[in-house]
């Protein structure tokens, strides 16, 4: 009976709850309630049903052979275990998740590198009091005025003022 039952892995719900982003909190709560319900159901059932007292029945049932027959058939009976169809799917999902996670972490690291670069640039900038307009355009390329495209002041579309 214990041979085919995979031991339940202890899930640290507190740590799990910490890492859930607020947008997925509802799903997490649903999962937790389901898990709790199942645990309660499991705990309510005994592991083995109580043994039938064959001696008592043999003494009391008058019909000859009935109890013996029952006993023979009962011990020969093998209750089929439910087949597990879903664990394979979950494993596959886990593999996929691992892959996509690795990709996401890569992208995230690239983003962090970009941010760090920008941060360094901003930190190493010369203070505004010592800047000329040329230095300003160098430091913030988006503030350049295109005197070639808009030759007349204010050198940018009126809507951008």
């Amino acid at each position: 009976m214990a041979g085919r039952r995979a031991a339940l892995k202890a899930v640290d719900w507190a740590a799990f709850a910490e890492r859930v982003p607020p947008s997925q909190r509802a799903m997490f709560n649903a999962l937790k309630t389901r898990n709790d319900a199942l645990t309660a159901r499991l705990a309510a059932l005994p592991e083995k049903p109580p043994a039938i007292d064959w001696a008592f029945y043999k003494a009391h049932v008058a019909k000859a052979g009935m109890v013996d027959e029952f006993q023979k058939k009962f011990s020969a009976l093998k209750v089929p275990e439910p087949v597990d169809t879903q664990t394979a799917k979950i494993d596959a999902q886990e593999q996929e998740a691992a892959k996509s996670t690795a990709e996401y972490i890569q992208a995230s690291k690239a983003r962090i590198a970009q941010y760090e670069q920008q941060l360094q640039k901003l930190k190493n900038m010369i203070p505004f009091e010592q800047m000329t307009y040329e230095d300003l355009y160098e430091a913030f390329p988006e503030s350049t005025v295109h005197k070639d495209k808009h030759p007349y002041w204010p050198h940018k579309p009126i809507a951008d003022l």
Partner: protein, 228 residues
């Protein structure tokens, strides 16, 4: 003499950013004459030297009529007086106002830069947090697998229990049937025996038994009286 062979603006020092311009211009006395002139003449002529020089020059120009006093001199004097009065009275305020305008521009630029720095740092924090969050994905799959295992186990136990209950019900039914039959037989027999006994009591026997009962009661009452 300019050394044309010396290369300009090529060394590391010249590629560096220029040092900032000084905040204030050179010192001047009376708004016109640089302080360096007075310092230049101080060793030879002391404090009053440049003033003597100036007075002498002005008197020389006037007396020799190198500068001729005419109508325009009066006009120039009046205009200069007004200008100097205006500058002395309002100069500081105007300067402060212009400085404030500049300050505001610089402050807004600095504020923008600070905001950008804050945003970047917050973004970096967010990314790190998301990476940490992602590490917890194994919990989810473990929980789901647990759910499945629990379901299966529950199902199996329920099946075992069902088998046990069914068998027990059938056996109990047999036992209960037997007990019921025996009970009914007993009751019926008792009733039959009672009925027969009552039938067999003849009227003569009844009278005799009643007389005997009355005698017994009298005896009992006598013994009760005696006890009291």
């Amino acid at each position: 003499v300019l050394h044309t062979t010396r290369p300009l603006h090529t060394t590391q020092q010249s590629l560096a950013p220029l040092p900032p311009l000084p905040e204030k211009g050179g010192e001047v006395r009376h708004g016109l004459i640089p302080e360096e002139f007075f310092q230049f003449l101080y060793p030879k002529t002391g404090v009053t030297g440049p003033y003597m020089l100036g007075t002498g020059l002005v008197l020389y120009l006037l007396s020799k009529e190198i500068y001729v006093v005419n109508h325009e001199t009066a006009a120039a004097a009046c205009i200069l007086a007004v200008i100097i009065y205006g500058i002395k009275k309002f100069g500081a305020d105007v300067a402060a106002f212009a400085d404030k305008l500049n300050e505001e521009k610089v402050a807004s630029a600095v504020a923008m830069k600070n905001e950008a720095v804050q945003t970047l740092q917050a973004a970096i924090e967010e990314e790190k947090k998301e990476q940490w969050r992602v590490e917890g994905r194994s919990f989810l799959f473990d929980a789901r697998r647990n759910n499945i295992a629990m379901l299966l186990e529950t199902n199996y136990r329920e099946r075992l229990l069902l088998v046990y209950n069914e068998v027990k019900k059938r056996l109990d039914y047999q036992v209960a049937m037997q007990n019921l039959k025996r009970q009914k037989e007993q009751d019926h027999m008792i009733q039959w025996v009672e009925k027969n006994v009552i039938q067999s009591i003849t009227p003569q026997q009844q009278k005799e038994s009643i007389a005997k009962c009355i005698l017994d009661l009298k005896a009992l009452s006598r013994s009760a009286h005696a006890a009291v």
